[in-house]
């Protein structure tokens, strides 16, 4: 005991462990069993690829954002609803830079405004119904251009960067640069009412009064497809950021889902008894929120097409917008309400409310900022909504602080990584799957050529044995034995699985019980 020299040993040997949650965050697909040993070549390939994906997962988890910013929310005092807190109160309470985000532009002349924030959230585009189009760096309030197109403006939309924007005017679709110079007048796109831009596909999707859904490839300036929806005037539109599917709302209460690859809607959902007034889809592509003429606000799980929640708004919501963190803004007349977590526990009260000066025409959450832009009859109001924006941005994807050089570089890379419109589908991971129908057809052909199925499981043929052990009865018996063995294997597997699940469940319960049964310090005073 005494003669042993105390050696310093590393208390944390090896590399630091990666937390399970983070690993799960970067989990892609499921690992399977290795192929049997005789197929050593296949086995090698599989082993190698598994090792590679493990490495990728681990490294990604290790280098995931460290010290991420937390999103904070508004918290009221006792007996105080957060919805009664006015913007002025908030501005008084917050620092000066955050306070500067609450402002309003009085533009009463050119009537209700629609708006759009660029992908990085730095730039704001406003389009007044009576032809006033302006874009500005809203944080520094620096005006980039301002003009009147002398025509009705139905909608405005930034394209992939803050250098270009599209304006849907009375007759045609126009594209301007940020100096206000008209670059294109696209005559193929007429009577456009609403527009959506798919940033990774470089597609501008437009819905027109004539019932046409059209896709414009912005990178090459070509119309990809024009689909006649046969559903009348299309003035409700949203896109699913997860899979780039366009959602259209119709006057018969249905919402239809579209891709540029199919002439019919992928899915048709009956959402409201009256017409649909607005649709919004959340960032993860899980939830869809719709509001209709029946003054209802409905939340759907868009993956299973099941209604989750249904709310009744006394005035009905005309415009909906979902923020990056899942806040929902709904405009009812001249009031903008913001709801928190509408798909979870049913809400009874809005999180925030704000009265605009005129009736609201367009609402839009600003990316990466706790800001909601409201376009209304008397101009534009930017209101502060704590907890709306994603605090941790991906600098390679959308960097709000990027320089001109970085923007250029990003543009080139984004163009190189452009996703073709054919890849748009309900399941974005479909590309990583083998084209089953073709493969099956090929396989059938192969079987026909070979005369046997090379992939079929080998049928058991009992060996010929001598001395009367190969009598038909014995052979039958042996066959049965093998069949039984196989069946037993299957059963064993299922039982094992079930046991595993049971065990896990029990452990969970135990943990729960342990957590519940933990003694608190105050228990000693309990009688």
């Amino acid at each position: 005991m005494f003669n042993s020299i105390p050696q310093k040993s590393d208390p944390f040997p090896g590399s630091a462990p990666v937390p399970e949650e983070k690993l799960n965050k970067f989990k892609r697909g499921v690992k399977g069993e290795l192929p049997p040993r005789p197929q050593y070549k296949l086995r090698d390939v599989v082993i190698r690829s598994e090792a590679a994906s493990d490495l990728a997962q681990k490294q990604n988890a290790r280098y995931d954002l460290m010290l991420p910013e937390d999103a904070g929310f508004l918290e009221g005092d006792e007996d105080e609803d957060t919805c009664t807190i006015s913007q002025d109160d908030i501005v008084d309470a917050v620092d000066i830079t955050a306070g500067a985000k609450y402002f309003s532009l009085t533009l009463s002349q050119f009537g209700p405004y629609r708006l759009d924030y660029s992908k990085t959230g730095r730039h704001l585009l406003l389009g007044g119904r009576r032809g006033h189009v302006t874009c500005l760096d809203w944080q520094s309030k620096q005006l980039m251009c301002e003009m009147n197109v002398m025509e009705t403006v139905n909608d405005v939309k930034w394209l992939h960067s803050e250098a270009l924007f599209a304006v849907a005017q009375k007759k045609w679709l126009y594209i301007y640069d940020n100096k206000g110079i008209e670059l294109h007048c696209i005559r193929k796109f007429n009577d456009v009412l609403r527009m959506q831009f798919l940033p990774y596909h470089f597609l501008l999707a437009t819905a027109s009064a004539t019932g046409f859904l059209q896709y414009l490839d912005v990178s090459v300036g070509k119309e990809v497809v024009a689909i006649c929806t046969k559903a009348g005037r299309l003035d409700v539109m949203a896109h699913n950021p997860h899979n780039a599917i366009i959602h259209l709302g119709h006057s018969n209460g249905t919402v239809t889902l579209w891709t540029p690859n199919q002439r019919e809607p992928l899915v048709k959902m009956l959402c409201h008894q009256g017409g649909v007034r607005s649709v919004a889809v959340d960032k993860t592509g899980t939830y869809m929120v719709t509001s209709g003429m029946d003054k209802k606000l409905k939340v759907y799980d868009i993956r299973a097409y099941r209604p989750l929640q249904s709310y009744f708004l006394p005035a009905g919501a005309s415009c909906l917008s979902l923020s990056q963190r899942g806040l929902l803004s709904a405009a009812t007349g001249d009031i903008v309400q913001v709801y928190r977590d509408v798909w979870g526990i049913p809400v009874t009260k809005p999180y925030m409310a704000h009265r605009a000066k005129g009736s609201v025409w367009g609402v839009h959450f600003c990316p990466f900022e706790d800001v909601l832009g409201v376009g209304h009859g008397e101009g534009f109001t930017s209101m502060v909504v704590p907890g709306a924006g994603e605090p941790n941005f991906d600098g390679l994807d959308a960097n709000p602080y990027r320089s001109a050089k970085q923007r250029q570089e990003w543009e080139v890379k984004a163009l190189l990584e452009k996703i073709q419109p054919e890849l748009i589908g309900l399941d974005p991971s479909q590309l990583s799957q083998v084209d089953h129908s073709t493969w099956e057809q090929r396989h059938v052909d192969r079987v026909q050529v070979l005369g046997f199925d090379p992939l079929a499981k080998e049928k058991f043929t009992p060996r010929l044995k001598t001395k009367g052990r190969s009598s038909s009865g014995k052979v039958e018996k042996r066959k049965k034995q093998v069949a039984h063995e196989d069946q037993r294997d299957v059963i064993r597997q299922t039982v094992e699985d079930r046991m595993k699940i049971d065990k896990e469940r029990k452990e969970k319960e135990k943990k729960k019980a342990a957590a519940a049964g933990q003694k608190s310090a105050l228990d000693r005073f309990r009688k």
Binding site: V45, V46, S49, P307, G425, Q433
Partner: protein
Amino acid sequence: MRVKWTNVEPCCVFCLIQGGSDDERKHCKLLEAISEGDKIHLSDLIGTLDKTPSALIKTKKQLKNLQHNQSTLETPLTRKETEKIQREVAFEKTSKEVSRWQSVVLQNQKAEQLVFPLNQEPSGPKRIEQVVAGWKAQTPLEQEIFSLLRMNKQPLHDPVLTPTEEASLRAMSLEEAKIRRAELQKTRVLQSYYEAKAKRGKRIKSKKYHRIQKKVMRKEYLKQFDEMVKTDPAAALEELKKMELSRMKERMSLKHQNSGKWAKSKAIMAKYDDGARKAMQKQLEVNKDLTQKLVIPADEDEEDEEESAETLPDFVNDVEPILDQVNPWMRGKLSTEPMMEESNRLHPPVWPREVGKPGEGRDDQEEDEEQMEETEEESLLRGFEERRKLRQTEDVKVAPMTMEENDGKVIDIKAEILEISDDDEEAVEISDDEEALEVSDDEEAGLSNFTSLFHGLVNHMEPPADQPKAGPGLGQGESPALLEEGLVRVRTLEDVELLSQDISASDTALLTTRDLGTEETDTQSATQQADKKRKKMIDPNEVLTKEAKVIEMPLAPTAVEDVEDKEEQRVIIKEAFAGDDVISDFLKDKRKQEEAGRPKVIDLTLPGWGEWGGLGLQPSRSKRKRFRVKVAPPPPRQDQKLPNIIIAEKRDSSIAAHQVCQLPFPFENPIQFERTIRSPVGRTWNTQNTVQKITAPKVVTQLGAIIEPIAREDLIKDIRQAVTGPSINLESDQGPQKKRRSQQKKKHKRKKN
């Protein structure tokens, strides 16, 4: 013969010495000398031939054969055939040569990354001697320094390592260690194989095989022994001692003494069968051989006497006194009495219960039996001791509990316990030597009695203590009682009551559960029926039935929307009337889609053809039925259970152009392939390091370097490298290996099954 020639020799030498003056004279002299010396007769010369006739005969025979053999020589093979043979030989040779490369090729195919040229010089700092080859110490200072260094055996060229250090480094490199390990592994494996083989051999049941084996072994052993006598007498002596020991063992054992079952059967047959007789005799001979004392020349006399004394009673060990005069080997038998004496001498205590003949070979068995019995006794004693201890502890336990309760019962129980133990002892006494099994049975029975009693006691005592807590329901204390129902001995009225309570409680529990179950099933069946009754058609009442929650609004909208009043009006009217219309329209649409998706029945009936045809005539129903081709129903629609959803069933084929439709080589089914491409490779989704590792090229070549084919000399080196395995080290490399091992285990399991 040799002697005679030597006699001649001196003459010749003499002649040679004389030199060559005149040949004739010399010749004459030589002749004289020969004639004068011992005369050599022809017979002397030929006589030797008689002594070694074999060679001559052989040659004679050969000559004769040649004379007799009149067959001609075979014609040489045709050119074609010779070429074929040559080709075959050449093929074998070259294939052998080529196959040497196989492992290298396979290794290269398997390798994750190959770096060419293959034998690259290691990068990093080079030695001084390599850099400055022709440099010499010139100045006196330099020379002095170098001499000093040399004297102290300090490194001259490589400034880091001394020669000793280098030697130690060179002692065993990693590769060598690996090779050595592989060798060791191989030897181990070989050993295990050998062991397995030996085991297999041992398990062979054939007596003949073993007999032959033994014989062979014995012969070899003898041979070895003979050699050992010559080479290593000490070891031989030891061997001798061993032999002696084996002899003693043989004498002690009953082997080869014709006392076994086989021998007895043969003895019966021996009268009529010569073969049996011989076999028995052989056995005895073997015995004799084995028990024969080895003659050691040093102390012959004493040994001899002893030997005579000891070799005699060998046959004595025969069990059966077969009084057969025909068999000569039976005559030398001694009477049984001396043996008896001997046995008595060995085992002075008399076994009173022993019944049966006092056989000669019995002593060994008896010894065994005695041992067995001893052990049994010991174990029994131990058991008693344990039981005593248990009893004591139980008494201690029971006592305080019973102090509060009624004493009399406890005493009763105690008495019974004692009785039981007494019984046990008695049983043991009775079953003294042979009935060990019975003893154990009795013991067990006693123990079980005992435990049951104990349990009963405990159970009996527990309920009053537990009752207030547990209540009439299913307490924890009662469940073991239920389990051990069979063991409880009902002794008092109270016990009976308790039991009935138990039973009734359990019964009621069962009943209640049953009732619950039936109720549940009833409700389930009811719902199922309802389900069945439900039409396939969607009820419009079910669409859009989710109840809406009213949201309170802190602010009421004051401003009137800018939409024109007329439109607003219209919208409101529409809203009021739309409700049902929208839903029914939607359902109609859905039904239409379903109809469109359903495959149509193909009607192939032709008018006429066996019937009257013409205007206004319908083919008969049976005919129409026969020619109607039914198509298999399509898989159920995705929106089958979603009343307010229509999902298009048409497959989107646009993505198919970008998907993989043909699997690359090693893959056999799509699932395997999909698993390998499940994680993305690009920079957008991975860290820089990962991307580099994942997308490392399969072949790396150095720019401007000449890449030469692998030389034959590198072959062995390459194989060594293959052992170490050049691979891109992924961090999680260990995972799959572990998995492999586990899978192997699984396989083993399956094999066992």
